[in-house]
Structures are given as structure tokens and as C-alpha cells.
Symmetry: C2
Subunit: 211 residues, 2 copies
């Protein structure tokens, strides 16, 4: 891609589209599908759209931060002057939809052929496994950022691949081919941006059948 | 109370129990029921106990913080050097129990006769109302810290009191007498510390009856 990319503080990706000098050659066609937004921003927008449409109540949990020092300036808000990012013990997104508890994680990779399982922390998997036991609906949205492809990955599929890595000759990544075969691709849209609820409906239907 | 109280950084309350000089008189009997812990610490412990017992998956959401400046020292973790607390758009606690989405807030007051409704932000009430519509179980745990009494307040009761404050002659607080009459008091225990799930069971039973 010949576009200029700058990582802005909040994680939005800025893509400069124009002003290509005459000598530049584009190796790939310019993609307009994922204009200037990160997966997180896309999902936050999606959840806002679902909330506005009264379809589901899903929020991203704030990033956990350990605060060490706080200043209390006169006539001003408390200012945190020393703090550190800490690891979350859960997934990033949860909420309620059709009476069900939803719990999911969003991950992206620049890889083109597989998704490395090292993107997950073990406690995230443990959290999802426990949430499933208690009747929650768990899944992962994986973005292959180079391909601009979003996959809806049900927890059962994820757990199978997570667990096999500890076997002899276990793979440390999920091949894209396996995702293409067994998981659905989420079309990238406008409203909602990443329409994942129809795939949740399928999981709920399956859950009801298995009762 | 003649005990010395210091607010420690993480919100735990330290109570110095001994070394009363001979001349001191205790106006109240020394309470041992809420030893040195804040409501948040008590609930975090409770949720850990429920998690360890595989009874429910409930977590407190991290406090939302807006990060402005981050230093990246060589060979050390990223250090946040300027950040501010921001307001959450949801409640503090949520998770899954018996297949239901739970969503609740914990509040405390030093008042002895009523609970001021100003302890809530409107968006927290809106969030709970929306979560109820989608099938969630919502409630509030209110601690009267001076009395050391925890109340389990179902969302229906809360919404009724919240809404009446906007009527002519509406009250700006919930009288303790009303809580005593219509809501259950949660006994303070050891394991779990604040056993709120039995009261959630009652809400679930009532929900099933009304279907």
C-alpha cells in the first residue's frame, strides 16, 4: 500500500489517500473498505449502533490501569501522574442480548495465512470457558488486517484449536483455511459497521437445539 | 468511634483497634463486622469466592481512565505520566450466573436514615433499564456504612424511587425505612463476604413466574 499510515494516540489508523506523485506505483488496489479505523474503533461504533437501535447492550471494558500517583491541583480535576497498564483477567467485551450473556474478544493479525494463538492469554481462554459453563455465549472476532477480512469465531472452535497446541505436534496457530472452512466471515458494513449479531443468533439457535 | 481511620491508596479502611488510653470513653460498641475493608474490596473478594466456587462469573469493570501522556522508558514498562479519571457509562459489576446476565452497582452512604439518589448518575439508571429490557437481572447493593448494613435493592424498586424524584414533591432520597420494608438485608459473612446470590435467585424465580 502506498498510503501513509500514522498511529494516532487512540489507535485510529490514519490513511492518506491522495497526492500520489506521478512516479509512484501502487502494488495493490487501494482498499476503501476499512477506512481509517482500528478494529477497536469499529467495534465500539458497532456496539453504539446496536445500542442506539435497542438491539443489544454491549460495552468494551475500560483498559485496566494501576494508578500509583495522583495529584489534586486546586480547582482542577485529579491528575494521575504515575500509572501503568495491567493485564485484564477477562475478555474486552461483554453485555446482554436476547436475554443471553455475551462475552467476546477482538483480535487482529497482520499475518495472511494463519492466526497465532499467542495472541491470547491463557486466563482469557479460561474466562471464556467458565462463562460458557454458566450459560454465556462466547466468541472471538478476528481481523486479518492485511486482507481486511473479519471472522466470527465461536468459542468451541477456538477452544479446540487452543487445546490442540499442547499436544505433541500441536500447531501454534489457526490456519486461515480452517477459519474459512468452519467459521463465517463478517461482512464489513456501514450501520452496523461489523454486524456480528446475526452470527450470535446462529449460536443461540444451536444452543436451543442442543437442549 | 474512637478508632483511628486512615484511607489507604486502594480504598481499604484501616481500623486501629487497641491502645485506648484510660481516659477515653467509647460512645458505641466496637464493631467487628466490617473489619478494615471497603465495600469495593468486600465485593471483589465475594466475586472471587463465587468464581473459586464455580458459582458465578462476575467481575468489576476497571475504572475508566483517559490517558493523555505515556513515557516509554528503555527496558521498562510503558509509564503513564498524565491521565484523568472519566465517568463510566455503565454500572461497575457484571457477569453471568445460571445463564442470566447480571448487572449491578455498589453504593455506600454515611447517612443513617436515607440513601440520597444523587449517588447515581442518570446514565447508570438508563443502562440498568436497558439491560433489564434485554433480559438482564439488575440490582444495587447499598451499604449504610455507619450502620454496617448492606441492602439488596432490585432494579424495579430503584427505578420506582428514581422516577418519583422528578414528580412534584418527589423525594431526593430513599428512606431507610422503605428499604427495610421492601428490600432484603444481606448478612455480612466470611465466605462469601457479601452473599448476594441467594437474593438474585429470588429475582430469577420471580422472573420465571411472571413469564
Amino acid at each position: 500500500m502506498s498510503s501513509v499510515k500514522i498511529n494516532y494516540p487512540k489507535g485510529q489508523r490514519f490513511q492518506h489517500m491522495g497526492n500520489h506523485s506521478a512516479g509512484q506505483k501502487r502494488k495493490q488496489p487501494l482498499s476503501y473498505s476499512n477506512r481509517g479505523m482500528s478494529l477497536e474503533a469499529d467495534l465500539n461504533l458497532t456496539n453504539k449502533q446496536y445500542l442506539a437501535g435497542n438491539q443489544a447492550i454491549i460495552h468494551k471494558k475500560p483498559t485496566p490501569i494501576q494508578v500509583v500517583k495522583v495529584d489534586y491541583p486546586a480547582r482542577a480535576a485529579a491528575k494521575i501522574t504515575e500509572a501503568y497498564y495491567t493485564q485484564s483477567s477477562t475478555t474486552d467485551y461483554n453485555g446482554v442480548y436476547r436475554g443471553y450473556y455475551l462475552d467476546f474478544e477482538a483480535k487482529q493479525t497482520k499475518n495472511k495465512t494463519s492466526f497465532p494463538l499467542s495472541n491470547f492469554h491463557e486466563h482469557q481462554i479460561d474466562h471464556m470457558k467458565a462463562s460458557c459453563v454458566h450459560g454465556g455465549i462466547c466468541f472471538v472476532i478476528i481481523l486479518f488486517s492485511t486482507l481486511d477480512e473479519h471472522y466470527f469465531v465461536p468459542s468451541d472452535f477456538l477452544f479446540k484449536w487452543w487445546d490442540q497446541q499442547f499436544q505433541p505436534d500441536g500447531r501454534k496457530s489457526i490456519p486461515l483455511a480452517a477459519l474459512k472452512k468452519d467459521c463465517a466471515q463478517i461482512p464489513y458494513g456501514f450501520n452496523p459497521r461489523i454486524p456480528y449479531l446475526p452470527f450470535v443468533d446462529q449460536l443461540i439457535d444451536k444452543k436451543k437445539e442442543n437442549r
